[in-house]
């Protein structure tokens, strides 16, 4: 964007102003993208959950009820904004803003398409984690500022959940950091080129006979970082197809459900227990701000999960189109943006599905789930991820002579790594699941019953 603007009006304006304008335009585009998706997500959630519960859902406003979110928005805008008399006015006012702003900041680092990333931050993954932790303060402010016991309870629950599920989420993302060798989100889709399970390891033997539709030249290729190689690339080398990525994805997605307060984990706003949690005393646009924050958080968490484990914008045809050069690069970018959006929507559909299928957890079940199941799995997965990297990429010197894999081709090393990590992950998962089983219901022994 900056470059385009420079070429158009480069001489008329000072450079810092051009950079500022370019980033303003990019910010506007990303915000409209997210809010447009938010509107569709609200509609889709209501329609899909209605379908699952054998209802109709909103179907009056516009075709298939598509304009319902707009009607809702009009209602929200015109509603009276009520502030309780005993509320802390400023904290009450600032809380929705503090919870929305960090969520929106998460959108800045996600690569929305091939070459379509708002900013390239080399600590992007850490940034996302840090920024999403800030929204807890907004919830706390809302709960305390409302001066309402339901709101305070909801806020306490929300923050406790946010803080405890951050640990498995971050540990699951750590596997991505180990696999990628860095914290930048920009590189992740490029690293997930290739074919399922094997990744980008099937080399082209005959440089002339390899079709550019199937083979891509990769410069940064695990194992041989310097010389460009031609590899079989269908855009499907997603990490979720490897044992390490699969376990990491499952752990991260469950933790993301908890962070986004989706249904099995929606105890902060359990409407049958504590009205609406921290949102109890909010109405009108302030309530809508919380609502937007929640959906955009889910949207960006789904985007993050897709980028980290499902290949991001990577998909069949993107690399082939990009190889054709010229205007086709832009077609490749559009196709890649479509792939990412499709992945986000599939993940969001799974979220709705879970909402239709599962009841709400209790608080102790919630904590047990995070500490006894997700965290051990994520810790085991880090060991597997480092084994994966060391088997596929290390030379025998780096192994300090313990293991010598120099003679193997890269696809053989990948296969060895997949088998080793699969054994570790499957046995660890089986073991952790088995020790988490409830103790076997002992037969009710009539003789042993003692009055308490």
């Amino acid at each position: 964007m900056t470059d385009i603007l420079r070429s158009w009006i480069g001489s008329a304006l000072p450079d810092w102003l051009i950079v500022l304008i370019a980033y303003l335009i990019v910010t506007t585009i990303v915000l409209f993208y997210a809010v447009g998706n938010f509107i569709l997500m609200v509609w889709a959630e209501r329609r899909v959950i209605a379908r699952m519960q054998d209802r109709l859902g909103p179907n009056r406003v516009g075709p298939a009820g598509l304009l319902q979110p707009i009607a809702d928005a009009v209602k929200m805008f015109t509603k009276e904004d009520i502030v309780p008399r005993s509320a802390d006015r400023w904290v009450h006012l600032l809380a929705p803003v503090v919870s929305l702003a960090p969520v929106v900041m998460m959108l800045a680092v996600i690569p929305w398409g091939r070459g379509w990333e708002p900013i390239d931050l080399n600590v992007a993954l850490l940034y996302v984690v840090a920024v999403s932790a800030v929204s807890g303060i907004g919830l706390m402010m809302a709960g305390w500022g409302s001066n309402n016991k339901f709101a305070l309870l909801g806020a306490m629950r929300a923050v406790a959940q946010l803080v405890s599920y951050e640990i498995p989420a971050v540990t699951a993302l750590l596997t991505v950091v180990v696999l990628a060798g860095g914290m930048s989100l920009l590189n992740l889709p490029y690293l997930q080129a290739g074919i399922p399970l094997m990744g980008a390891t099937i080399l082209c033997n005959d440089p002339v006979g390899c079709s550019p539709l199937l083979y891509t030249t990769l410069t940064s290729f695990p194992g041989s970082p310097n010389e460009p190689v031609q590899v079989l690339d269908l855009g499907l080398g997603w990490w979720v197809f490897t044992p390490v990525g699969l376990l990491g994805f499952v752990v991260f997605f469950i933790a993301a459900l908890a962070e986004g307060e989706r249904t099995p984990f929606d105890i902060p706003e359990a409407d049958s227990e504590i009205v609406a949690g921290y949102m109890t005393e909010y109405s009108g646009m302030k309530f809508a701000t919380f609502y937007i924050a929640q959906y955009i958080l889910n949207f960006s968490l789904a985007a993050l999960a897709a980028t980290a484990f499902l290949g991001g914008w990577q998909g069949p045809g993107v690399a082939a189109l990009a190889n054709m050069g010229g205007p086709w690069v832009h077609v490749a970018a559009a196709l890649s943006a479509f792939y990412l959006l499709a992945k986000i929507w599939i993940l969001f559909f799974v979220m709705i599905w879970l909402r239709g299928a599962f009841p709400r957890l209790r608080v102790d079940q919630l904590m047990d789930f995070a500490w006894k199941l997700l965290l051990p799995l994520a810790l085991v997965n880090i060991v597997s991820a480092s084994l994966m990297v060391s088997i596929t990429q290390w030379t025998s010197a780096q192994w300090s002579g313990l293991v010598n894999l120099d003679g193997f081709a890269s696809w053989q090393r990948q296969l060895i790594a997949v088998i080793v990590t699969a054994i570790i992950n499957i046995s660890a998962t089986y073991w952790i699941l088995s020790i988490n089983q409830r103790p076997k219901e002992e037969e009710w022994d009539e003789e042993l019953v003692v009055a308490p």
Binding site: Y127, A130, V134, I137, M141, W144, V159, I435
Partner: protein, 214 residues
């Protein structure tokens, strides 16, 4: 560009100072915590201004995301949040004044006096060394390996310890009876009561049993 950075620095510095002063002067403890958080944010922004992205992000993650939430949790468990009769100063306020002043004198003044502020300009073409994630990582693995490993093992042990504690707790917990089991238990107790004092069985017994069962 330099003047822009200076202006931004001044804005952030004033913001941090105002927030810090508000933290210690505001009567309401929750407001004080919120001002403290905004002062943490200001420090993070200063790090970003110095192009230390990693430090800035970690500042937000640790101080804003973790420490301040802990503080807020602790505050909300205390009584008397905004009592107007809360004293701002303890009787021994002068000790509290002397200790930070002495620490400030010992730590900051020598640093300010001896630090080489005017760095020589870098030779052309050589990129400036920025303390990014890579440099910090290299320093951790090379120079400060032992402290880094000790801290890492400590944290990992804490994490695994938390998991182990979570597992142990369940075995000690009393099993919650289901409704059917409770009913059966009560019925059994009544049978025991009915059978124990065999000679003293009276006509009251059956009606009492049905009464308590419903």
């Amino acid at each position: 560009m330099n003047t822009l950075i200076t202006i931004l620095f001044l804005v952030f510095a004033v913001f941090i100072l105002v927030a810090a002063i508000m933290t210690v002067t505001v009567k309401n403890i929750v407001h004080a915590a919120l001002w403290l958080i905004s002062s943490f944010f200001g420090v993070g922004a200063l790090y970003l201004l110095m192009e230390a992205e990693f430090l800035g992000v970690v500042q937000v993650l640790i101080y804003v995301g973790a420490v301040s939430i802990l503080i807020l949790f602790a505050i909300m468990l205390t009584r008397d949040l905004e009592g107007s009769q809360n004293r701002q100063l303890t009787p021994r306020w002068w000790i509290a004044l002397i200790v930070p002043a002495a620490l400030f004198g010992i730590l900051i003044v020598p640093t300010v006096m001896t630090h080489a502020w005017q760095l020589p300009p870098l030779p052309a073409g050589q990129p400036p060394t920025i303390s990014g994630a890579q440099q910090i990582g290299t320093a951790f693995i090379r120079e400060y390996l032992l402290p880094f490993e000790v801290a890492a093992i400590l944290l990992l042990v804490a994490m695994i310890g938390a998991i182990v504690v979570a597992f142990e707790e369940r075995e000690q917990r009393r099993r919650v009876l289901t409704l059917a089991e409770q009913v059966r238990l009560r019925r059994q107790q009544q049978q025991q009561v009915a059978t124990l004092p065999e000679p003293a069985v009276s006509t009251v017994q059956p009606s009492e049993a049905t009464g308590s069962e419903t």
